[in-house]
C-alpha cells in the first residue's frame, strides 16, 4: 500500500514536470488510473516532501488543477538564466478594478463603474490583456452585458489556490470602518 502510494506521487511529479502547464486533477486521475482522491493525497504527499527536503520547486493547486513551479526565493538566480516574461505592473486603478471583479464575480463593467464612480473600459481591457480576468458569460438583461471573472493566472499572481482563500472583506470590516470613523469623529471634537 505504502509502496503503491509512492508510485502515484512519483507518477504525478513526473507528469507535472514534463507537461509544465497546470493539469486538471480529473485528467491526472484518468492518466494514472486512480481516483481523484488518490491524486489529491499524492499532491499532499509531494507538497510535504518538497517542504521537508527544502526543495527548489513546489507544487500548487489552482482550483481543480495542479502545477509545479519554482520557489519564490530562487527568483534572483533564475532571472540570470531564464528569459522570464516581463511582469505586468498593476496600478492602483487596475488593482481596484481587479478587486471588484475578484470579490463580486461574475460582474459586468457597468457594475464596476457604479462602484468606482468612474469609467473603466481601459482598466478592464488591460486586465483581460494581462489574462487576470476573462469573460465568463453574459448577463440575462437588456444589451446582454458581458460578465467578467478571474482566471488561473489571477490565482498564480496572488499565490492562492481558490477564490475561497481571498482575504475576507465582509460587513465586519465595514463595522471596523464604522467604529474607526466614530472614534476619529469623537477625537475631533476634543481638538
Amino acid at each position: 500500500m505504502a509502496d503503491s502510494d509512492k508510485n502515484i506521487s512519483a507518477a504525478l511529479e513526473a507528469i507535472l514536470f514534463a507537461v509544465g502547464e497546470a493539469v486538471e486533477v480529473s485528467r491526472l486521475a484518468e492518466a494514472i488510473e486512480v481516483d481523484k482522491k488518490e491524486i489529491l493525497e499524492a499532491f499532499q504527499e509531494l507538497n510535504q516532501k518538497y517542504e521537508e527536503t527544502s526543495s527548489g520547486i513546489k507544487i500548487v493547486k489552482l482550483d481543480d488543477k495542479l502545477q509545479l513551479c519554482t520557489r519564490n526565493e530562487y527568483y534572483d538566480y533564475l532571472i540570470k538564466l531564464v528569459n522570464i516574461p516581463k511582469k505586468h505592473v498593476l496600478t492602483d486603478v487596475l488593482l481596484e478594478t481587479l478587486s471588484i471583479v475578484a470579490y463580486k464575480q461574475p460582474v459586468t463593467r457597468i457594475e464596476i463603474e457604479q462602484i468606482r464612480g468612474v469609467s473603466c473600459q481601459h482598466a478592464v481591457n488591460k486586465l483581460i490583456e494581462y489574462n487576470l480576468i476573462t469573460e465568463v458569460g453574459r448577463l440575462d438583461a437588456p444589451g446582454k452585458p458581458i460578465l467578467f471573472g478571474t482566471t488561473d493566472d489571477f490565482l498564480r499572481s496572488f499565490g492562492i489556490s481558490s477564490m475561497d482563500e481571498l482575504p475576507v472583506v465582509s460587513s465586519d470590516k465595514i463595522e471596523d470602518f464604522r467604529r474607526q470613523a466614530m472614534e476619529e469623529a469623537s477625537l475631533t471634537i476634543e481638538t
Binding site: A18, V19, G20, E21, A22, K58, V60, Q67, L68, C69, T70, R71, N72, E73, Y74, Y75, L78, V82, I84, K87, L90, D92, V93, L95, E96, L98, S99, I100, A102, Y103, I110, E113, Q114, I115, R116, G117, V118, S119, Q121, P142, G143, K144, R156, S157, F158, G159, I160, L166, P167, V169, K173, I174, F177, R178, A181, M182, E184, A185, L187, T188
Partner: protein, 249 residues
Amino acid sequence: MATVDVKISNFEGPLDLLLHLIEKNKYSIFDIPIVEITQQYLAYLDDLCEDDYDKMSDFLLMAAQLISIKAKMLLPKEEEVLEEEGDPRDELVQRLLQYKMYKYASYELKDMEMDAEGAYYKGQSIPAEVKNYKEEVDPAEVIGDLTLVRLKEIFEQIMKREIDRIDPVRSRFGTITREEIKLEDRMIEVREEIKGLKSINFRTLLGRRKGKMNLIVTFLAILELMKTGVLTIRQEGIFEEIIIDSLEG
C-alpha cells in the same frame, strides 16, 4: 479650512476624493457634514487642470449630487416625508462604504501579489516525442451540433447588442453613463456653435441631438464654459427659456 495641497489627478475618482476629504477631516462617514464637504470638494475641482476634461465629468457629476443632497437637507420637511425618504446622505454613505471596502481589498491584493512574487511557472513543455502523439483537433468535432442557423442567430444578437450599446438610453436603464459623449468634445462643439452669435436658446443648442446623456453633457459643458468666462446664461423666470449669451467676439 484645510488648504488644497493635493492635485485632483492623484485621485482615482470622485469617491476616492470624497474618502480622502472625510478621512483628512476625521469626519464620520455615517454623519458627513455635507455643507463643509461640498465646499471642500468644489475647492478641489477648481484645482483641476484644463486637460483633464474627461476625468472631470465624473467629478462634476459627483459635485452635482453633493449639491443636490445639500439642497435636500436644507429644505424644511414634514415629519412624515422625512421618515419616508430617510437621510438624503444614505445612498452616498452606502456607495462610500462599498468603495472603501474594495479599496481596502485592493491593498490586500497588492500585499498578496508581493508575497507571491518570484514563483516561476512553466508553459507547456511536453517533450516533442510525446507531443507528437497528440492528435490534431478535429474542427468538425469542435463544431459539434452547432448549426449555421444558430450561428446566424448569434451574429444577429451581436449586431442588436452593438446597436443597444451605442444607444445609452436603451442599454443602461436609469444609469447615468459617462463615456458616449465626452464633455471635452461637447465643450468644443458648443463653443463652435455659439461663435459669432450674440445669444442662443438652450433648446436650440440641443438641437436635433436626442438623449438624456446629451442633455446632461451639454448642460455641464455650458457650466464649464461659464466658469472659464466664454459665455453667460440667463433665465427670465422659473421654467422660462434658458438663454446663453456669448462673451466672445
